[in-house]
Amino acid sequence: MTQALVTVEDAALTLGGQAVLENVSLTLEPGRITTLIGPNGAGKSTLARLVLGLASPDRGRVIRRPGLTLGYMPQHLRVDESLPLTVDRFLWLAAPGHTRARRDALQRTGVAHLRRRAVRQLSGGEMQRVLLARALLRKPDLLVLDEPAQGVDVAGQDALYGLLGQVRDETGCGILLISHDLHLVMARTDEVVCLHHHVCCSGTPEAVSRDPAYQRLFGTHGMANLALYTHHHDHDHDLSGDVHGGEHHHGAHDHGASHDGGHHHD
């Protein structure tokens, strides 16, 4: 049995008077891909921030393996217009060292041609790949990705998840993914944790998709419905029955806490 990378034990966190997380436990192990799913504002990003050490729980605890190297790919990152910064310099911030390493990391995520480009000129999808390159550059023991497939087309998403699997196989790192794109993710994840302020259910993708708690949250059609839910909010009333009250507030906290811009990702 390998030592866990990060263990979250009975963590609770209240932000702005709203209980964002309640009694959440989570174990992340080397070589495993764990996917966090849940409706908007369920506390997914907040839980990721606990894992990363960017936030502390009010109750419970988060134990990180000593000497753990983390790689983090935030949902969104905006560089101020006043700051001239090339992609190469942006990567240098994470790991100074040879240009070669930075070029390789960009090659890996398929954006080597962007190395001399200004960060501000990148499209959403290009930025995601550059952020992933920056996270990989540090050779992390644990890679945390918040909605990595945003702004990436379907073929790109497929490539992205393929790449994550490859990285896991090669380096044996653990991966924590926050995702809405369950069609693609389910097939490539070892464990799914369904979060709605508390852990509703967790286990293998097959087990979770059959779980009544999962079906209550996302509808009986499971994955198909979930994809619909995330993209068409007018169809979600039956999915979230008990969920609805205060959801928007949670949403605001969840995302506001995850990055300064308060940018929402619908």
Partner: protein
């Protein structure tokens, strides 16, 4: 009057001004990137209060000013944690409280004839060789600390979350930046004065933005613009008998205006 005489008479003023302008380049870049212009103003105003305290308590001017700037800076960071008053409102309040208190405290010094004007707008021509040595020593310290922590400083400027995940001591780095700003403002109080220092920070950096492709280039160009501004300002002051501090600011403004003619680089 021959050129030699002018150089001889202006040498201390020129060297003092150059020391401040050199450091104001990279520091101004951070002020622009982190949108700290108003914060810099507030600290500069509190420098006046520090100068008044130095006279009242018969202590060293530089030490009293640094101490006052730092106390105000730390208090501001603490006050910004509360969410009742917006940051710029808070800065507007504190900036003018410290300015008012500083002027009142200076006016109460009946023992010495205090030249308030010199503190507000600087009196570069009054600096002696001892000041020159102190200013260059200060400049060397600031540049050394900037170089030493450059990557960390830049990293928290781009994104504090990523910086923290990557192991940067974010609060300590932020505090260092404030300490360096306090040091610079202390040096500036004798040269361009508390009311003009922000312009010497902001204008060269804003002008340099249009010429630079990397953060380092921007810092370097900002220093260059500052150095030329000091030389032009002193020359203007010598020939037209204008006050030195404002002449330097006008020179910087003209140079900034010239950079606007150039198409911005990304």
């Amino acid at each position: 009057m021959g050129g030699t005489t002018m150089i001889e008479l202006l040498a201390p003023a020129l060297l003092a001004g150059l020391a401040v302008a050199l450091v104001a380049g990279p520091m101004g870049a951070f002020v622009v990137w982190r949108r700290m212009a108003f914060f810099g103003d507030t600290m500069a105003n509190s420098a006046l209060l520090g100068a008044a305290l130095a006279l009242a308590l018969q202590v060293n001017l530089y030490l009293a000013v640094i101490a006052t700037c730092l106390v105000v800076a730390v208090a501001l960071v603490g006050l910004q944690r509360q969410r009742q008053i917006a940051d710029d409102t808070l800065l507007g309040i504190v900036a003018h409280i410290t300015l008012a208190l500083g002027i009142i405290a200076l006016s109460l010094q009946d023992s010495v004839q205090v030249d308030l004007f010199a503190y507000l707008f600087g009196d570069l021509l009054a600096v002696d060789w001892r000041d020159v040595v102190v200013l260059w020593a200060g400049a060397a310290v600031i540049l050394a600390l900037l170089a030493w922590r450059w990557r960390a400083l830049l990293s928290i400027t781009v994104n504090e979350d990523l910086a923290r995940v990557e192991g940067v001591a974010v609060p300590a780095t932020r505090l260092l930046l404030m300490l360096l700003l306090a040091l610079l403002i202390t040096g500036a109080i004798r040269t361009v004065g508390v009311l003009l220092i922000t312009s010497l920070l902001v204008m060269p950096a804003a002008g340099a933005r249009r010429l630079a492709r990397t953060p380092e280039q921007m810092a370097g160009f900002a220093s260059l613009i500052g150095l030329v501004s000091v030389m032009l300002g002193l020359t203007l002051s010598w020939h037209a008998d204008t006050p030195v501090g404002p002449s330097i600011v006008v020179a910087a403004a003209v140079l900034f205006g010239l950079t606007l003619l150039r198409r911005p680089t990304s």
